[in-house]
């Protein structure tokens, strides 16, 4: 029985001693094999520029999961690309989509315009009373024009197209 503190009492790791290169090869090999078994196409973005990585992405794990030594690099500090697109997901219901549309409509009115137009709009927007006067004037004097414009806009989207986009049972 080994005495405490002696070399024999120190538990030895079962895995063979590895250098970083061998560790990387082993890890990548396990990742690709694991992905292959589950049918996932592994995007090897962490090995940029490698011919192997490109082939895997293109052909979907047809090649053997071996990594030529020349393809290996030290693992770079790469930030994975986020797949979650918050804005798109938040517009999945009509209320959020509507609000998003109105926000963009308002933003577009006041930005990205020739300076004269921006100054003009801002001078109107600076006064709530002026804004309301504009609205009262345009809508009050041309109510039919507004309504007809809305109806024309609705027709431009085409109710027929909307009906056709409804999924039919097979």
């Amino acid at each position: 029985m080994a005495e405490p503190g002696s070399q024999e009492s120190v538990p030895q790791s079962k895995a063979p001693q590895q250098n970083p290169t061998e560790a990387s090869k082993g890890l990548l090999s396990r990742i690709v094999h694991g992905a292959k078994e589950t049918g996932i196409n592994v995007g090897l973005n962490m090995v940029p520029g490698g011919a192997y990585a490109s082939a895997v992405r293109r052909e979907g794990l047809k090649r053997e999961a071996t990594m030529p030594t020349s393809e290996l690099t030290a693992m770079p500090d790469v930030q994975p690309k986020p797949k979650f697109i918050p804005e798109r997901l938040s517009q999945q219901d009509p209320t959020e989509a509507s609000k998003g549309f109105l926000r963009k409509f308002t933003d577009r009115l006041f930005t990205d315009r020739p300076e004269a137009a921006q100054v003009f709009l801002q001078s109107i927007a600076a006064s709530r009373a002026t804004q309301l006067a504009v609205q009262d004037f345009m809508q009050g004097n041309y109510p039919s024009a507004v309504a007809e414009g809305i109806i024309a806009g609705v027709l431009a989207v085409s109710p027929i197209r909307m009906i056709n986009s409804i999924r039919r049972p097979l």
Partner: protein
């Protein structure tokens, strides 16, 4: 039917808009008004733009005075056409934005509603 706000409110109702519908419709129409005024403004040469800007801001909250000033620069037809175009473009874009988020029943209800309003609309609108 020539009540633009009522049409918008009905659309919001059909699509199940869950927040303040009146506020949305008001802001939407306000933007349409501003857009139409901007479109008209952009047709003017620079010196007229400067004049119009001064006159609009000096009109303040007086809609009647604003009407007088605008009619110096634009005809009734131009004013009416500008607001009709602005409303049309805004609604088209809005419908395209929300269409992917609608359920089949909402699309069907909207289509039914559009069918109703186009039947009662004046021929000029179609």
């Amino acid at each position: 039917m020539n009540d633009a706000k009522a049409i918008l409110l009905k659309i919001l109702d059909v699509i199940g808009y869950s927040e303040d519908k009146d506020k949305f419709a008001t802001e939407f129409l306000q933007n349409v008004s501003l857009q139409s005024l901007l479109d008209l403004f952009n047709t003017l040469p620079q010196d007229k733009k400067d004049q119009l800007q001064q006159k609009i801001t000096s009109a303040g909250n007086d809609a009647a005075k604003m009407q007088e000033e605008l009619k110096i620069y634009f005809t009734e037809d131009q004013l009416g056409q500008a607001i009709e175009n602005s409303a049309k473009n805004a609604v088209t874009e809005y419908m395209k934005t929300i269409e992917p988020t609608l359920s089949d029943s909402q699309k069907q209800n909207l289509a039914n509603y559009f069918g109703e309003i186009t039947k009662t609309a004046s021929p000029a609108a179609i």
